[in-house]
């Protein structure tokens, strides 16, 4: 599948790293109580996806697929999405923080059952 020179780092390495980062991000979402840290963990997951995307894009471009380059374009779109998410999320967080003076998400458990 890989057509590049022998010294090029194999795609699997990148993907393995990205999976690791993704898992770290997922665990962070579960273990952190601060909303800010949860945001950051989600960012980690998104960047893991970006890493996988560029790695695959390079692989497909090397394999001669014309649209391989789209993978790199997609990364920019995802970056924009991430930025927009953070903007909205921080907006909501600020609104809440003004009243509760806490970013602990475990205090958000009033509505249940």
């Amino acid at each position: 599948m890989r057509a590049g020179p022998a010294e090029v780092v194999p795609t699997e390495y990148y993907v393995a790293l990205s999976a690791l980062v993704f898992a770290i991000g997922a665990v962070g979402v579960l273990t952190r109580r601060s909303a800010i840290m949860i945001f950051l963990s989600v960012e980690l997951m998104l960047n893991a996806a970006n890493l996988a995307l560029v790695a695959y894009a390079r692989q497909w471009a090397a394999a001669g697929t014309l649209v391989g380059i789209t993978g790199q374009t997609a990364v920019f779109i995802i970056l924009a999405v991430a930025a927009a998410e953070v903007a909205v999320g921080l907006g909501i967080l600020v609104a809440i923080f003004r009243r509760r003076v806490s970013t602990d998400v475990d205090t958000l458990a009033e509505v249940r059952l």
């Binding site: 997922a26 979402v29 579960l30 273990t31 109580r33 998400v105 475990d106 458990a109 249940r112 059952l113």
Partner: protein, 641 residues
Amino acid sequence: MTQDVVSWAALAPALALLGALVNGLLGARLREPLPGIVASVAVGAGFVLSLVAFFAFAGRGEAVVVPLWDYLAVSGVELALGFHLDQLSLLMMLVITGVGALIHVYSIGYMHADSGFARYFAYLNLFVAAMLVLVMADSYLLMFVGWEGVGVCSYLLIAFWFKQGTNVDAARKAYIVNRIGDAGFLLAMFLMFRTFGTLDVAAVNAAVGAFAFGAGAITAIGLLLLVAATGKSAQIPLHVWLPDAMAGPTPVSALIHAATMVTAGVYLIARASPIFATSPEASAAVAWVGAATALIAAFVAFAQTDIKRVLAYSTISQLGFMFVAVGVGAYSVAVFHLVTHAFFKALLFLVAGSVIHALGGEQDVRRMGGLGTRMRITGTTALVGTLAIAGVPLLAGFFSKDAILVHTFSSTLVEDYGAYFLYAVLLVSAVMTAGYMFRWYYTVFCGAERLSKATGAAVHESPRVMTVPLVVLAVGSVLTGYLGLPAFAFPNWIEGWLAPVTAAVTFTHPALWIEWLLLLVSVLAAALGLGLGYWAYHLQKGAPAARLGVGRLAAFGRSGAGFDALYRNAVVGPTEGTAGALSIVDRDILDRGMASGVTAAGLLARVTTLWQSGFVRAYALAMLCGVVALVLVVVVAGVRA
């Protein structure tokens, strides 16, 4: 097509619907008895249309199809809605509109001065419309619309006097139990569509011919239809709702829970008769459900002290007779009993209503007695109805019940599934029917008066608007029997009339003397039942209250106490236990938001909401667990492959 007089009968449901709309929207502005008159005229006009169509149809073979509109086209199959007028549906329409019109008229008197007068007639008309749609539908899809419609109307009418605490619960219980049957109907419909590629009744019936006798798919459809019929027709184990349904006004019990809606299950099986005629397994299941119900409900009827609940169990039992009839393949006989039963049971319920009306709401038979002399018309018509259902010769119930017994005896369809046992069970049930009906009649109309002074002084015969329907129904309870005299020696009209629309099932024809003997046995059964009743309730001495209570059932067996205990433990126990369990389900699940959580549904519901902790991170954990599970499945499968 539109010039055809028969097709005008398709207007009958529209008329009833119009009546419902008028009463529902303008009812508050109409003064009593105007809503009742509107409703009665709407149904009466439907009866006239049906009658005209009935006579115009006589001598014809082809069904008249009145197309309504194209409903849907799924997977290239057109589902069109239409009415199908043939021998069976026209007969059903006559019963529904005929008996229905009488009950509407009666209700004008019965519901006099009720605050919900117009609302009552709106519901009643809506019911008639839905019931007509059910029997006139040319496809199972439209039949299901009517099927659900009558269920909703039944719910509305049981809960009609909703200010009395338990009535709403009874209505809801009836509705939910019925929905279990409806699920069977839906599944049957999907299976039919899959098997035959159509939902048209005639097309399905024609397509069944291509299947082998006893084919699995046909049996499955038959069993699912049985589930549907069991719910609607209150057969064991889904019978528990009908006795509670007596919470509704008595004319409602007469129309919906005796004469029409509860017979929809019998109608459904008769309609789908080619399916059952092709599957002896499904037929045997129908017959045995019916036989078990006939026997057990008859037992339970003895123990009842409420004037209407006796009749309710009697209805369940009689529906069991009809189920046996359709089960053994005697479809026209089942419809015959359906028709005669509609008359005498509607009569008995209206009699009960007349008594309740006269006694100012009293329903306990232990506080009645001796009313025959003070309510002459009610008493006389009650006697006619009692003798008819007991199976006294020359009255309607005798001929139809005898026909069921004979056909069960000589059935070939369920020969391998204990046809003779079925016959024996029915014979015992017939004896008991005569017995408990004697008890009912005797305790209400004969013997000493046990009324309280206040109610006793006010007892009066009901007004004409109520007694005239009683007399008409009493006449019908005699005459309808002559539609189907024993075929071996007399002309039998109904068998020939329904032959073109029901599947032909062969019966062995025993020797003539056996036929006469069976007839004699039926006569003896009625005589035995009435005689035992006379002996137990009239000749035996003792305190009236004791004689009339549950304990006097002992008179039925030689070893009285043992039989009584058996009956109480084996029948009332489970029956009331089931009812009790269901009412727990009702109370806890429906009303208290499942606080106790003892039932399976309650536990399931609790489990599903237990992990709804409110914490964001717990939700994220659940999501992640879901994802990890999915990923692991893929990885493990990938490694193994």
